[in-house]
Assembly symmetry: C2
C-alpha cells in the first residue's frame, strides 16, 4: 500500500480535529472539522475513532498533532531541531502498515526548551511546497503561538508563546472578563496596544491599566478588548521578532482571522510579511510525508 | 462623636473582609476575617452588614477598600497622586456622621493610568507611623500587586501588576494547572525563575517552556511550580524596580507569605529591603484618618 495513492490526514489537536480526505493527485476531496480533540476523548475512544475513519475511507491514515503525544493515542517521540520534512517523515511511527503517526519537533539549545505538535507539518509543508522562502521567520498564531526560524527548508529553532490561551483565560475568568465579551476591532486602539507592547516590557501591568482607564472614564469598555488584544499580539510579536534578522522575510501561516491581527501588529512594527493558508500547507506537508512511506 | 475615641476599621476587599476593633489608644481589641468580600454580596446586603457592625460595636465605622468603589456600597472618588494621608482623610465620604468611607488613590501621568483601593491606608500608614523612610519604593504583593514610589510620606506614583491573579488563573484553568497543584518552595528553582525573568522579557514564552521541559524530562513536575512562581514574581519585580532609584530603600508590606517570595526575588536582584506587617500599617493609617474626623 502506498499512502500516496490517496490518504486521510488528520490534524488532531487538543480541542479540535480536522480531517482531510486527499486524493492521489493531492486534491482535497473532503474536509471535516469537529471538536473531538484529544482532551475530549478517553484512551479507549482513540482506537474506535481511528477504526471508524478506516472503515469509512478505506485508505491509509496519517495522524498529526496531539494524537501522537503522551496524552494521545500512541506516542511519536519528538524530532529535534534542526528538522526538515524528511527528518519528520523518517521518524513517523507506524503501529500498523496503513497508519502513520507524525512526530512533533523539539528545540533544546541556548538554555531554551520548546516543543510543537501539528504545526511542523504546516511550516515544513509551506517550505517544501514553495509557498514561502526556504529561509524565513514563520509565525503560526493560535492558543500556543509558534515563531520559527526556518533555514534551508528546515525548522532551525522556534518559540511558543501562550498568547491565545492567556487571552481565553482573561476573557473567561479574569477581572477583565466584562471588557473581553466585545469583538476585537482593528484600528487605532488595537494599534496603540501593539505599540505599547513593542515599546515596553510590562504586560501584566499594562493589562491592569486597561481596567484603571475604564474606571476613570478614559477608555470605553467596548474599546478595551481591542487594546488588550493589541497588547497581547504586540507582546507576542516582540518576542517572536527578537530572533529575527531584519532582512529575513516574515511569513504568517494558519487561521485567517488570527493572521489579520498579527499582520496588523507586524505593520505597526514596520515589518513586511506574507500569508499562507494553513490547510493548504498542512496538506502539502502531509502529502510529502505520505510519498516517503511505502 | 470623635472617631478617635475608638472605632471599627474594615479593610473590605473584593474577595475578603477584615474587621479591626481599635481602642482609643490605638490597640487592636479584636480582629475578624471572613469571605464577605464585595463580590460575594449584592447591593442590598451592604447596608445590612454595616448595620450589624454598628449594632455590635456601638462605635464609628471606617470602611476602606472595594466597599468604596462603583461596585461597592457608596462610591468614594479616587484622590489623585501625589496623595498623602491628609489628602486621603480630607476626601473621606461620610454618608452618616459615624461612618467614613475612605477613597482610593489614582495615578494618571506619563501616559500611565492606575488605581488602588485599600492598599493606600497601609502604604501611607506605614510612612506616617515611621515604620519606613518617608522616601521609599514600596511593594504590596497580592492579587493585584502594587509598587509605589513614596516621597516625603506621599504616594508619588504607582503601578499595579496582576501577578497574583495570573498565577491563580494558571493554577485553576490553564494547561499548566497540573504543575501548579504543588506548593511553591524557595531555593534554586524559584531563584532560576526569578533570574530568567530579570534577564529576559518573554514571560508568556518562558511559561510555556516549563511544559516543554517537563515533557522532555528536564524538569520534575513538582519543581515546575517554583520555577513558574519565580518567573511571575521576578517579572513583577522587574517592572516594579523599573522606576526605582538604586539608592532608595525598598519596603515590602502586606501578607507575610507573599513577602517571603518577593524578598527572595529582591535578593536575586541584589536589592536590600525591609518588611512591614500589613495589619499594623493598616491600623496606623486608619487611626490617623480617624483623628482628622470630627
Amino acid at each position: 500500500v502506498k499512502l500516496a495513492e490517496g490518504f486521510v490526514a488528520v490534524d488532531w489537536g487538543t480541542t479540535n480535529r480536522r480531517i482531510f480526505v486527499v486524493g492521489g493527485d493531492g486534491v482535497i476531496l473532503d474536509r471535516i472539522a469537529d471538536d473531538y480533540g484529544v482532551s475530549s476523548l478517553v484512551a479507549s475512544q482513540f482506537e474506535k475513532e481511528i477504526g471508524q475513519l478506516r472503515g469509512r475511507y478505506k485508505t491509509p491514515i496519517m495522524l498529526a498533532g496531539m494524537i501522537g503525544s503522551k496524552r494521545g493515542w500512541i506516542e511519536a517521540p519528538y524530532v529535534r531541531c534542526p528538522a526538515d520534512l524528511t527528518a519528520v517523515a523518517n521518524a513517523v511511527v507506524r503501529p500498523e502498515r496503513d497508519i502513520a503517526i507524525v512526530p512533533g519537533v523539539s528545540y533544546c539549545d541556548n538554555g531554551r526548551v520548546d516543543v510543537m505538535r501539528g504545526e511542523e507539518i504546516q511550516l515544513l509543508g509551506a517550505a517544501y511546497g514553495d509557498m514561502m522562502c526556504p529561509d524565513a521567520i514563520v509565525c503560526h498564531p493560535g492558543t500556543h503561538a509558534k515563531w520559527a526560524v526556518v533555514r534551508n527548508g528546515a525548522i532551525h529553532s522556534f518559540r511558543t508563546i501562550m498568547t491565545g490561551e492567556i487571552f481565553a483565560l482573561l476573557r473567561r475568568h479574569s477581572m477583565l472578563s466584562d471588557f473581553l465579551q466585545f469583538p476585537v476591532e482593528l484600528g487605532g486602539t488595537f494599534e496603540a496596544g501593539v505599540r505599547h507592547a513593542l515599546d515596553h516590557d510590562d504586560l501584566l501591568a499594562s493589562l491592569f491599566s486597561v481596567r484603571a482607564k475604564s474606571l476613570l472614564g478614559l477608555l470605553a469598555p467596548e474599546e478595551a478588548v481591542s487594546f488588550i488584544s493589541g497588547l497581547l499580539v504586540g507582546s507576542d510579536t516582540k518576542i517572536g521578532l527578537d530572533d529575527a534578522d531584519p532582512e529575513v522575510s516574515i511569513t504568517l501561516i494558519g487561521d485567517s482571522n488570527l493572521m489579520v491581527l498579527y499582520g496588523a501588529a507586524l505593520a505597526v512594527a514596520g515589518r513586511q510579511f506574507s500569508r499562507i493558508d494553513g490547510e493548504r500547507a498542512f496538506v502539502a506537508g502531509a502529502r510529502f510525508i505520505a510519498e516517503k512511506l511505502t
